[in-house]
Amino acid sequence: MQPEHAELQMFTRVQSTLPLRSAYTLDDLALALGRSKKTAYRHLQQLKRMGFVIASHEGVFTLRDSVFLPPSLIPKILPSLLAMSQERKFRLRNGDLGIERARHLLMALGGFPTLDYVAYELTGYQTPVAFYFYPDSLEQAIKVLRENGYVESPRGSVVLMPKIGDFSDPIRRVFYDSLAAGGRGILDAIAIARRFPKETESTDYLHSLLNMALKVEQDIGGSDRLVSSRGMRED
């Protein structure tokens, strides 16, 4: 799945000019691009189609920080992003999250679990909070959840996504999904890459960056513990 040339051009422009922030306005985007608000709006729609926009309301929006990953990685994470942009969230009608029950029901139906729970199974690094699943049949999975007391809810922690892209290498797929998700997902991706270097080595640039980070960590050893985020830390 390759992004169109125009899409990639727009993306590179956004990536190179937009500062890293928690939220943006259309004015921010227009200013960064040096273009009109109308053009900025068009770019925002393209970012939405690519799956990078998390929330958007009246010209104010938040982006996945995976938008700042090296452009060479974008075609690899695009299927994950597209799937995430079509996610459907469920929880039990009584308000409970119902994760364990849903896991049992959905795994029996067939499909591919990813993100939080799988990343935790692979690395033991960050505790999971939501169950993400690519069912073999989305319609069938929704039907089964509804029959078992689940309702769609924006705050649901059982998340179904359509199967888009390649699932032949499970670890690599979870790795790309984690990268695409951004935020804490990127920490999962780094943990997966460190644990499974062979399965994730196709991400050349990122991989070399991780190796360099590891080298710095080993070289510096404990001396960085003396420095806090802005100054000296006295242990």
């Binding site: 928690s22 939220a23 938040t62 920490l187 006295e234 242990d235």
Partner: protein, 156 residues
């Protein structure tokens, strides 16, 4: 949460603070971050006497959790300010001190932990005191950015 009895001036600033404000709806790693105002609470000999372990300049609790101890500042907030504005919350049967919600949001924002920023604003929006946030923020832009996170979710 035995740390609070072992290190009385400890204020939780990382994952434990997020958990205290969000319940269990937050991803986290198993390490702990505390801001400590009273130096004698975390003197090396005292900690070792309590069963804490120091390996490669990193501290581990007697329950084997890695713990980062901040004595000066965290993400630009002084430990004294974190301590004076901290709140007390009940965790199981004991009380712990955690950093104030608005300060935690700004800490997460400055640490670029955008998931946590969005989670805290989405789930605790009605509890956020924007005037207090303004009073501790570096500048107006920082607060406007946090307000924009809320606006993007249709909360404002």
């Amino acid at each position: 949460m035995k740390i609070s009895s072992e290190i009385p001036s400890a204020v939780f600033v990382g994952a434990a603070a997020t958990l205290a404000h969000l319940g269990w709806h937050a991803r986290r790693t198993s390490d702990l971050d505390i801001a400590v105002e009273i130096a004698s609470d975390v003197e090396e000999q005292r900690l070792v006497g309590l069963g804490y372990l120091k390996l490669d300049e990193k501290w581990y609790t007697p329950r084997h959790y890695k713990i980062d101890i901040y004595r000066k500042d965290v993400s630009g907030f002084s430990v004294a300010k974190i301590a004076s504005d901290s709140i007390e919350v009940r965790v199981r049967k004991s009380m712990i001190r955690v950093t104030k919600l608005e300060m935690l949001i700004l800490m997460k924002h400055r640490a670029r932990q955008t998931d946590d920023v969005r989670g805290l604003i989405r789930n605790r929006f009605s509890s956020i005191h924007w005037n207090y946030m303004r009073s501790v923020a570096r500048n107006d832009e920082e607060v406007i950015e946090m307000e924009n996170v809320a606006r993007s979710m249709g909360l404002m």
